[in-house]
Symmetry: C2
Subunit: 238 residues, 2 copies
Amino acid sequence: MRKDIHNSNIPVRCMSCEVRHKGICGALSADELQALSAHTRLVNHEAGDELAGEKMPAESYATVIRGVVKLTKTLEDGRQQIVGLQFAPDLLGRLNADENAVSVEAASDLNLCRIPKVALERMVKSNPALAERLMTQTLRELDEARDWMVTLGRKTAAEKVASFLLLIATHLDPEATGDRRQFDLPLSRADIADFLGLTIETVSRQMSKLKAEGMIGIVANRHINVPKLSKLKAFCGS
Amino acid sequence: MRKDIHNSNIPVRCMSCEVRHKGICGALSADELQALSAHTRLVNHEAGDELAGEKMPAESYATVIRGVVKLTKTLEDGRQQIVGLQFAPDLLGRLNADENAVSVEAASDLNLCRIPKVALERMVKSNPALAERLMTQTLRELDEARDWMVTLGRKTAAEKVASFLLLIATHLDPEATGDRRQFDLPLSRADIADFLGLTIETVSRQMSKLKAEGMIGIVANRHINVPKLSKLKAFCGS
DNA sequence: CGTAGCTTTGAGAAAAATCAAAAAGGGTGG
DNA sequence: CCACCCTTTTTGATTTTTCTCAAAGCTACG
């Protein structure tokens, strides 16, 4: 399952964050950003890489520059559930935790900006604006988790798949406008099933059904287009 | 559905918090506690009272002194999902939010310590220890939400009901020790179903099945005993 | 071109939902 | 304290949804 890892461990300024003024860097002064840059590393991972294991010691933080990260939990007998997806410019890692509550995996090829545990924690202590920004991200994650609980607990298989497609469509390119969307799924059918609490077969059947109903087009396995996002949204139940 | 509300709006020191040094009050100095006490009110609610509506303006915070609070989300067509339960000494209310993301209801009879929105937010700004404590609670809620996503997405009906009973057994009296437990369910079968993403009938059947297998005893409708908590835990899958 | 890994499709089985009705509690007023 | 009513819970029969098992079709890649 796990492929070779090719990291480019070159120290860099986190230009991506700085320029776009997103993520945690937006809460930093020029001086702080400069100081932080000394500790950060741009690293790359390929789809399938495991970045951190459930119940393993937490070693560092990282912000997502490009790609999608999946957070999973696994039952004793191997049943798996994806409990969150992280997109740029989210911060990976749980503040002040010694141990990971979830397993962290690259869903797609990734660029991350890695930050040592102590460096970030020191900076959070001295910068209330940064602490507040982390609180905001945590609250957003909590909202997303609760929204997904409704999907898992109360939606039909068809609504679950539609909700997933809507989530991806709106998160992959948040700036996109208009009612028509086109994108590549960052997750395999198996991952989608683990996200939705379904089997691969049910996911596949519901995708075919949505296609037959004209709700979506399946250009290639992973390449989807949505002619009317508003129609898809209405179908999701909320 | 909504019953009459009988509130005793008498200003008090939040002795319950102070004495037990739990919840947010544990992060406050004597002076701060004194100052906060001037703004707080002990209020009572009965089971079924709606404390705050989904998408309604957020008006105040409150800590749970006694009882259980349920957080729910509802789809357009009325399907409902409980997305969280709060026990003493949790803080109700989302920091800095103008609008509720969830509906807040008294699951059982309640005693709350109510805190005005501005009073708490001012105190959080000037007290990093309090901010950190709120961050800790939020992270715990996120963990709980993600754990529950696994239950909703990947467990069988029997495992879901067992997981719910385990949750209640361990949360109602966190100090209890030993492998035998006895408690009153703070939720009706309908609420349990909404928490587990099941129907009332399925919950009832699985409870009967757990009883038949000797996993639990049903003394009265709401009164449950668990002869071996470890056995129940093992049955939950994780 | 062949192979390995995904994905789709099909048929039958299992789990949970739905519809229906009986039983059990709980509170109220007599 | 009891009889009654209303609500909640349990149980039963049937239907629907989703899963499981099986096989075929696709894709990508060496």
